[in-house]
């Protein structure tokens, strides 16, 4: 297929390469997402099939999925998915978790051996809830407490990486082609009301699994296709608010911006769209007065979070998905509906393979966010 054949299993070579996080790794990509607006749960099989159609949009150096509604039996607990380099790191991390959380359940995340996926770290899952005393003494709200603990593990404990930390959702990612990653994690055995997927085409070998997409914090997950030109402006601004961009990826900074604007500032997803893909001033000038005042305010007040350069993203959150293109629509993205299902993808083919017949299909304009929620639920300002 003309893919770049990088010597991934050459330990010597790998030792010389930096790990993602130590350098910027521009990537091209494929993204796909699907959601049942009635909240009906369905298997992860479809999302694997959908993303596999776009095999050529990734180069085997990263793939991953976010799945919502998959842990109904543990829905009140934060599901931490963690990569460990070795068991020493695992012990240190578990000691930290025990000091801060009540661990309800822990297990290895089930995987299926595959020649296509190699060099896996230890991959564990913990269902936790903050220790009431710790939470009270921190004077933080519960979600902020969890987010800070995630940052603490990811920046302070060597060899550990929490890559999923939401409730009733989970991220599954690896270095490899996305369809292989899906099979590796046995994604078809999970049932959820929404899934997103990502196939990555990085220009450099990532060196480890952390840089694969989706990138997630709490229940927010982002899959992203593009390379944003505003990266360092966004990164330096969001880091003012306690976030640490350890991976140097666009996706990471986008996820933090969305968490900051939605969870901490209380902007709705619609308002977030008009911050990160703000309408051009000339467009704002033509809006009716009330709308104009709001658009002007958001652009001015949150100017540091305008994202420029090409991107198409699918943001997952509790109860919904949001799809957005950059202002010039420099990346492909298509949305379609069939019955209670809504599909979003880089390519129409990846939708038709699941649902050949569609009620409606459209290409959202640049900066026009598409927000889909389960049962018409309000994508709330929390």
């Amino acid at each position: 297929m003309g893919q770049i054949n990088l010597p991934q299993d050459n330990a010597l070579m790998r030792a010389e390469l930096p790990r993602e996080g130590e350098f910027r790794n521009p990537s091209g990509c494929a993204i796909s997402g699907m959601i049942s607006t009635s909240g009906k749960r369905f298997s992860g099989e479809d999302i694997i099939r959908s993303i596999s159609v776009m095999h050529d949009r990734s180069n085997g150096l990263g793939g991953g999925f976010a799945a919502y509604g998959i842990y109904p039996e543990y829905k009140d607990f934060y599901a931490l998915h963690i990569f460990f380099d070795d068991s020493a790191a695992k012990h240190e991390c578990e000691a930290f978790l025990e000091r801060h959380f009540d661990i309800i359940n822990l297990s290895k995340i089930p995987t299926r051996k595959s020649p296509a996926i190699t060099d896996e770290p230890l991959i564990w899952r913990y269902f936790v809830t903050p220790l009431p005393t710790k939470l009270a003494s921190s004077q933080l709200d519960e979600r902020e407490f969890v987010a800070r603990c995630v940052f603490r593990v990811n920046t302070r404990i060597k060899g550990c990486y929490v890559f999923s930390s939401g409730k009733n959702m989970g991220v599954f990612k690896a270095v490899g082609f996305p369809e292989d990653v899906g099979r590796f994690y046995r994604l078809e055995e999970y049932e959820g009301y929404a899934f997103t997927a990502h196939g990555r085409y990085p220009t450099n070998t990532p060196g480890w699994w952390g840089g694969a997409h989706p990138f997630a914090l709490l229940d927010y997950s982002v899959v992203h296709n593009g390379e944003i030109s505003s990266y360092d402006a966004n990164r330096r601004s969001i880091e003012m608010h306690g976030y640490k961009c350890t991976l140097q990826t666009d996706t990471e900074v986008i996820a933090y911006i969305i968490d900051y604007l939605n969870r901490r500032k209380g902007l709705s997803m619609k308002e977030i769209c008009s911050v990160i893909a703000a309408p051009f001033w000339q467009t704002i000038a033509q809006m009716p007065p009330e709308e104009r005042a709001e658009a002007e305010y958001l652009r001015n007040a949150f100017s540091s979070y305008l994202i420029t350069g090409p991107f198409s993203i699918i943001v997952g959150f509790e109860g919904g998905l949001m799809a957005l293109n950059d202002r010039l629509k420099l990346r492909s993205m298509v949305v379609a509906e069939r019955d209670d299902m809504v599909y979003i993808s880089s390519e129409e083919a990846a939708i038709r393979v699941i649902s050949p017949e569609l009620d409606r299909l459209w290409y959202p304009e640049g900066g026009q966010g598409v927000i889909i929620t389960v049962n018409g639920g309000d994508e709330k300002c929390r």
């Binding site: 360092d232 330096r236 540091s304």
Partner: protein, 501 residues
């Protein structure tokens, strides 16, 4: 005392085959360099009086004149330069402080020239500003920390007063008095046409220019010259001048010769007396005093205008800026050691302060480290020479820049650096009516508009190359810069990587 005679550094060279003895040069030169020798009918030039302003060269109808650096020299000495020697002669002669004008001309490192700008290739597309919208307008002022919604959940506008600029460039403070009425009129009209701002400097605002108030920043400095309620209310913003890059730590001095007529009235001081601005504000001996002045000015103008605090770039500039950001200021202007002046002691201009690039990088980083970067906007000044400097300044962290010298160059200044003499042959830094009329405000205004518009085009081209279509995405975007020929420490302070990294 023959030691008094110093061979001039520059010589006026006349091509006698071309000279028609029309005496234009003689009439144009306020320094009386040129004269007609009656006996021979030939023009004579006394190079010792020449300030190298090129007025005669530019107006000579037969192109007979040029000014060249003299090859006369002292015995070569790597330690005692000709400059050092002649300055000693001058001071031994006069017993006075040496005066200079315009920015520091010494060969200190220039960091803008050691920064290179990025462009897109393959992984993301560059954007063509001729085909796609490319936005260079910015708002200056505090950003809200809390959002307020009405009962219907609609966001309320709780923004502090802002300045809106169509281009991230403003004309920096130059007082009426230090520069002429026509120069001020040119700046005011250009600012209005461009949708930007000019700055009154510490000299009050001439009553004719109140009509440009929407594009005017009024300055309050240590002498409080020309400050009254109507003045404060006339502008779009108020700037408290704490320091100036060309002369950090000292005040200002406008010689009595320039305090004539309208200048005297506008400054509210008697004609002919020197206007001395004290080194400190005598009501600001500490940061808590600054806060009081900031809020006094806000009270006086009913919290309708942003307050700018302008400081010189000195060694602990980042700590000072951090203090200012917590003192109610909406905008901080930082003026680097290459910034211009109408008059400053030479030793101070050439030895005090630090480069704006380092100061800006360090202030932007400190404010972010402290989480208060959104409390203020940053404006940088002190030798912004081109659109590339603007792009680099914004990428280092500035919201906008001030230009002074570049604006004067657009008006005809040739950087002869003799503003303090009051004999500006280009009609800019003078109050001599014979000279001021040489600057036509219609033409001056047009040239300023041309300059800023040209820079705006170039900024857009560079932004498009980087794949950035709005200037706010460039602000503080230091990954778009790489350093060349710098030490690790310099790179660390600028927060950029070396080219090739």
């Amino acid at each position: 005392m023959p030691i008094n005679f110093l061979c001039p550094e520059y010589e006026v060279v006349r091509d006698y085959d071309r000279c028609i003895a029309c005496r234009v040069c003689e009439r144009q030169c306020a320094n009386n360099v040129h004269s007609l020798i009656k006996e021979s009918g030939k023009m004579f030039a006394d190079s010792s009086k020449c300030v190298v302003c090129h007025r005669c060269v530019s107006l000579c109808p037969t192109r007979a004149l040029k000014i060249v650096k003299s090859d006369h020299s002292f015995r070569q000495n790597a330690n005692w330069s000709a400059k050092a020697i002649t300055e000693i002669y001058k001071q031994a002669d006069s017993g006075g402080v040496l005066l200079s004008s315009m920015g520091n001309p010494e060969a200190y490192p220039n960091y803008f020239d050691r920064l290179l700008i990025n462009a897109s290739q393959v992984t993301n597309p560059s954007i063509d500003p001729l085909r796609e919208p490319m936005e260079t307008s910015v708002f200056l002022g505090k950003k809200p920390t809390e959002l307020v919604r009405d009962e219907n959940g609609r966001l309320q506008n709780n923004l502090a007063p802002q300045l809106h600029l169509n281009v991230p460039v403003m004309f920096s403070a130059m007082s009426y008095g230090s520069i002429s009425y026509n120069a001020h009129e040119s700046l005011a009209r250009a600012a209005e046409a461009l949708g930007i701002y000019y700055n009154t400097g510490e000299g009050g605002l001439h009553e004719d220019f109140y009509k440009y108030g929407r594009n005017t920043i009024v300055q309050v400095a240590s002498g409080r010259f020309g400050v009254h309620k109507a003045f404060l209310e006339s502008g779009a913003a108020i700037e408290i001048k704490m320091g100036q890059g060309a002369k950090p730590g000292i005040g200002g001095h406008l010689p009595g010769a320039k305090i004539v007529g309208d200048v005297s009235r506008t400054r509210m001081i008697p004609e002919g007396g020197d206007a001395i601005s004290p080194a400190p504000h005598h009501d600001i001996y500490s940061i808590e005093d600054l806060r009081q002045l900031v809020y006094s000015l806000k009270e006086a103008t009913e919290y309708k205008k942003p307050v700018i605090v302008k400081i010189a770039a000195v060694h602990n500039v980042s700590a000072i800026a951090s203090g200012i950001a917590r003192s109610g200021a909406d905008i901080i202007a930082i003026d680097g050691f290459r910034g211009g002046t109408g008059a400053a002691p030479t030793r101070i201009r050439d030895n005090v302060g630090i480069p704006i690039e380092l100061a800006l990088a360090s202030v932007d980083k400190r404010l972010r480290d402290e989480g208060i970067r959104d409390e203020v906007s940053l404006v940088c000044a002190g030798s912004i020479r081109s659109s590339a400097d603007v792009v680099k300044a914004v990428a280092l962290g500035a919201d906008a820049v001030y230009i002074g010298t570049a604006a004067l160059l657009a008006l005809g200044c040739h950087l002869c650096r003799n503003c303090q003499s009051g004999k500006c042959n280009w009609g800019i830094a003078t109050q001599d009516s014979q000279l001021t009329k040489r600057l036509n405000p219609d033409i001056g205004c047009k040239r300023l508009i041309n300059l800023v518009s040209a820079w705006d085009h170039e900024i857009k081209e560079m932004m498009g190359g980087m794949g950035i279509n709005s200037i706010e995405a460039l602000r503080g975007n230091r990954l778009m810069l790489r350093g060349i020929g710098m030490t690790e420490k310099e790179l660390e302070i600028l927060g950029v990587r070396h080219a090739g990294e």
